[in-house]
Every structure is written in C-alpha cells, then in structure tokens.
C-alpha cells in the first residue's frame, strides 16, 4: 500500500489538494534532512516520505559536508551525501555550511563542493567557534568568492531576546548573526543578493531592519507560524524578495506552508514565494554548471 495519498479531501477543509501543492513548484530552500548526530543518511531517507507526501518538487539541503557544529571538518557521511547529490540532482540540491572565523578554510570548502562539486551555495550557521558574525570584515573574502562562483548565500539570523536588561538580540549565541548584520554586509556587496534566514526569528523587527536594503532576501523557516507575517513581508519588502524553506524534520511542512497559505496572495504570488524566487536566485550558478533550469 502506498501511503502518499491523503485519506480525506483537503479541499473540504479549505486546503490545497496534492495537485495544487505540486502546482506551486515548491522548492524547500532550508532542508535539514541530514541534520542528525548519528544517522544523517537514515534520517534523510525517512524525510523523503514527507517530501513526497507534501508535494515538494526539490529540496536544498543546508547540511552538506561536515556538520553545523563542525562545518569545516570532513565527516564519514560526506561521501554518501555527495553520492545522493549526484544521483538525485533533479530532486536534491545542497549548500554548504561555512565558518566565517576561518575564511581560508571556508573558501577551500567552497572550491571543493561548489566550484568542483555539485553544491550551489553556502550557509552561515547560527553561531561559530570564534564568535564571528556576518558583518565582520573577514567575511568579505568569503562573499567575494561566492560572487565569483555565482553561489547562493544563506545567512541564519535570529533576534533572540536576552541580556540584562533584556533586549532583542541580547540572547544571540556567539557568532549568530542578526538581520542588522546582514544589512551591514549587504551594503558592502550591493550586487549580491543575500538571504536573511528564519525571518530573523522576530519577523516584525526583522522586516523593519532589512526593508531599505533591497539586495537582502527574506526567508521564513524555523520559527513558529504567525498569522499575518507573510502579508507584512509582502507589503514592506515586495513579493520578489521572499523565499521559502521547510526546516524539516524539526519543523513540519504544515507549519511552513501555512505561513504562505495564510497570506492574501494569488496562485502566481504563492508560486513566487514557494520556489520561483529561489530558482531565479540560483539560475546563475545553474548556468555556470551547465545545468538546465526552468524558472
């Protein structure tokens, strides 16, 4: 028995049918299927069930090569990931975590996995050993190299409340960037589009922060779904600056879909957020690799 069919008709519940989900051409730009301490490949295999079940066209793993905690250390699962990226390129893409505290080593990893490998971009992780956020000067070498490779740049951001007295961002980890760090970096690279990830954790403050910096894209995954959040982002940033991520398995596709479905958008606008905007962003790296891509 196949388990990918819904037992009830979603349309009866005001939800998209499976065919409608597929028609959005959903690209999950923040896939954490490989994010597991001991069993990344096994976890990825299990995640594929839900990828299929929810009609996702393509997944972009953000955990390729090493781990988020040790992004520059080769791991035993790296060859298996490489094999999956080569074998299932039509469905599985990858970006690599880097560490801005170690720009030379990060660039070396970019050459291995992007210039000479199957990956299409880099990810700034939510914290790092030396506490270097994305606005620090040593990032310039990394971003310059990303520009040379036409690589996608995704930056984890959060605005965690903390500190004494408490303030937004006072609870961030060492090296965990905030949206204002992305804006600072984006000003130095006006010809690069940078993704401000997780809607800054606090979408209301993050939208205000990035709205004047037009080369900053905005992605929503990994935070609780708040009704009205995508409506505000569309109003303040414009539909073309939004990209979508799933963040599974720690988040459900349902949670992440709902942020877009809640917004007052046309089918065409939903398509832009669910995948088209990201496809435009990675078209140059596809071209560089000689891969075809229907945006």
């Amino acid at each position: 028995m196949r388990n990918n069919d819904f037992i009830l008709n979603p349309a009866l519940y005001g939800l998209p049918t499976k065919d409608e989900l597929k028609s959005y051409r959903i690209w999950d730009s923040h896939y954490h299927g490989f994010y597991a301490t001991n069993t990344p490949i096994k976890q990825h295999d299990a995640m594929l069930h839900y990828v299929e079940r929810m009609g996702v066209e393509r997944i972009i793993s953000v955990d390729i090569g090493g781990t988020l905690a040790q992004p520059l250390t080769p791991m035993a699962h790296d060859p298996a990931q490489l094999d999956i990226l080569k074998k299932y390129q039509e469905r599985v893409l990858g970006i690599i975590p880097i560490d801005p505290g170690f720009p030379e080593e990060s660039i070396k990893k970019m050459d291995q996995w992007i210039a000479n490998g199957p990956c299409i971009g880099i990810k700034y992780v939510g914290g790092n050993k030396l506490g270097v956020t994305c606005n620090e000067p040593q990032n310039d070498a990394i971003i310059s190299h990303a520009r040379k490779l036409n690589a996608v740049v995704y930056i984890h951001t959060w605005i965690k409340v903390g500190g004494d007295p408490r303030w937004p961002g006072g609870g961030n980890l060492p090296g965990e960037s905030a949206p204002w760090d992305v804006v600072e970096l984006a000003k130095r690279f006006p010809d690069m589009q940078l993704i401000c990830g997780h809607a800054g954790g606090d979408w209301e403050l993050a939208i205000r922060t990035v709205r004047g910096q037009e080369n900053v894209m905005f992605e929503f995954s990994g935070a609780d779904p708040h009704s009205g959040s995508v409506d505000l982002a569309v109003k303040e940033l414009g539909i073309d600056r939004l990209v979508w991520g799933g963040h599974g398995p720690s988040r459900s596709f349902s949670t992440e879909f709902s942020k877009v479905l809640d917004a007052d958008l046309s089918h065409k606008e939903r398509m832009k957020i669910f995948g088209e905007n990201y496809r435009k962003l990675c078209k140059p790296v596809f071209d560089r690799k000689g891969w075809t891509l229907k945006v």
Binding site: R2, Y35, A36, T39, H156, S227, G228, P249
Partner: protein, 332 residues
C-alpha cells in the same frame, strides 16, 4: 537551524483502542459548515472539526489578522470547523477578569449559532478567584475555563490549585491549562513569562478522577518522562497546536516501535519508511488523547489542519483528533 530535541518533538502512537465513532458532540448545535456544501456527496461523511484552542479579545502586542469574532469565526468556518472553544487574550494581564469574561461571553454570543464556546479566565494570584469561577459557570454558562500560569504569576504548586481542580470538577467544567502563548525567544523584552511544570497535576487528578483537563501549547513544558506519566496516570487531553516536526502527529502516535510500514516512490525508486528516526523515545500516545487546537488567530489555522494530512493517519484517528475526542470531553 533548530536542534532536534525532546522539547521540539512530542510524538508518539496510537494505542490499541479502536475509537468509537464520532460521538454526539456538545450540546451546541453545529453551525452550517464550510462553504461549498457537500451534502449528499461522497464527501458528506468527512468529519467536521471542533477547534479547542482559539482566542478572542486583543493580543497585547500586535493586531492579529483574524482578530474578533466575525473575522475569526468566518475564517474558521471556511475550514470545516463547526465549533471553537475560545479563551480571551485579555486574560493574560487583566485584573478585572469579570469584565474580560463578560466581554468574551458577549463576543461569542454575537457571532451566533453557538459556534464559539467561551472559556473564561480565572487567576489564582488575584483574590477571590472563586467568584470569577462561579460567574463563568453560573452567570455566563461557560463549559470551561482557561488559565495561563506562565503569565498569571502562579504555578501549579499554588496552594489554591487543588481547590481549582476540585471545584472545576465538581461543576463539570473543562479546565484548560496553557503552557505557552508564543516562543519565548520572541517575547517583548519587557515580558519575562515564568516557568512552571504540569507535574503537580498527576496526584491531583488521581484525587479528582472526574476532572476534565486539557493542556494547550503544552509542548515546551512536557518532557518525555512527564508525557509518559500524564498518559499513564491521568486522562488529560493534549491539543495539537504546537506539535512540531515532519509528520509530527505520526511520530507522536507511532513512536519508534510500532511503526506502520510506509512505501513510497522517490526519484523513480520505491522506498520504505519503517521508522521515524526523529520520533521521541517515550511511550506511544493514544489518538484518544489528542484534540485539534489551532491557536488561531495567533497561528494560521492552516498550520494545524495541514498536520492532519501531513501525517498519514487512519480515518478513525483523524476523526478522533478532529472532532470526537473534544466532543467526548465536553459531554461526559
């Protein structure tokens, strides 16, 4: 990037019991359902939904897209929800709770059709909470109350909490206990909501076997061990609002040991999912212990609706979570 941990997942399995069919639901008549009636069609048997976790009133920190009875009620009805149990956001901070409860009752009534069922607020930290409780029951004819310990400056070790449990049980009221309203990382910096544990419920519910208790947005405050204890030793109902992870309800019901085998195709190859590696390690949770809760209008109602499709539940499980478990709690 979020680390997968026990706080994130609360997952695990449908116990043995085959669920009874959709029971007769609360006394409130069903309002007409979702737009596009399917009466007479093969879809006519599709269950409707009781949403056990919605809120009216003003969220203190921003305007919400579907706030107020008209906007929220119309939105929920589009999604086949036939009844919604509504608390008030204003119960978080207000001191004159009778005014909050009166306004909530009036808001619910204004929408008509008994669609909204008001769940008033009492606060054990405010003196004479017993009078607020009495009015909720006797004056406003409420079926239950909702408390928010993390905001209301008491926890479940408060000396009056046993009285609240026994008094709600005596009156036949449902007691909803809210763990969180939002991710604490998003709080306004001036707010420092307090920690509390649900553990004191266990001995109290043994002493009050007739108590009707539901936990809302409970997930950050229930460890695997406590979940086991609550499932084994109480009859509390859990809402779905913050059950997270891919196939989160699957994981919660199935656990790691009692998986169904799922066969699917990916990349032109047939694959089998026999275990959800991110499922929690605690005991399976019977589907009879879950009830749909959207946390609307704070969360999009679509989030929790879709979860019931993302997880490949049986029709019986789906009906139980959508409607019959809440219906039983309201009527027994």
């Amino acid at each position: 990037m979020g680390k997968i941990n026990r706080r994130t997942f609360c997952g695990v399995t449908l116990g043995a019991g085959v669920l009874a069919g959709v029971s007769k639901l609360s006394a409130a008549p069903a309002v007409s359902v979702a737009e596009g009636s399917d009466a007479g069609s093969p879809d006519a048997d599709a269950p409707h939904i009781i949403d056990t976790n919605v809120s009216l009133g003003q969220w203190p920190f921003r305007h919400l897209k579907y706030e107020g009875p008209k906007a929220l009620g119309d939105k929920l009805r589009k999604h086949r929800i036939r009844q919604a149990w509504a608390g008030s956001f204003e119960g978080l901070f207000h001191k004159n709770l009778d005014a909050v409860n009166a306004a909530l009752a009036a808001d619910c009534k204004s929408y008509g059709g008994n669609f909204f069922q008001p769940f008033g607020t009492v606060n054990l930290a405010w003196h004479d909470w017993q009078e607020d409780l009495r009015r909720c029951h006797e004056v406003y004819k409420m079926k239950g109350i909702r408390i928010f310990p993390s905001y209301q400056t008491f926890d479940l070790t408060h000396e009056d909490f046993p009285k609240l449990v026994s008094e709600t049980a005596r009156r036949g009221l449902i007691l909803q206990i809210v763990g969180d309203m939002e991710d604490s990382r998003n709080h306004h910096p001036i707010v420092l909501a307090r920690d509390f544990s649900y553990a004191p419920l266990i001995p109290l519910l043994k002493q009050n076997p007739g108590a009707k208790v539901q936990l809302l947005y409970w997930n950050h405050r229930v460890s695997a061990k406590l979940m086991d204890d609550l499932v084994d030793n109480t009859k509390v109902l859990f809402d779905t609002a913050r059950i997270e992870s891919a196939g989160g309800i699957d994981a919660l019901l199935d656990g790691n040991k009692n998986q169904k085998t799922r066969v699917f195709s990916f990349g032109g190859m047939e694959r089998t999912l026999s275990e959800i590696p991110w499922g929690r390690s605690s005991k399976p949770v019977p589907a009879e212990r879950l009830a749909f809760g959207s946390h609307a209008p704070f969360f999009p109602v679509e989030a929790n609706l879709l979860k019931l499709f993302e997880s490949d539940l049986t029709l019986e499980q789906t009906k139980a979570i959508m409607e019959s478990n809440a219906g039983k709690l309201a009527t027994t």
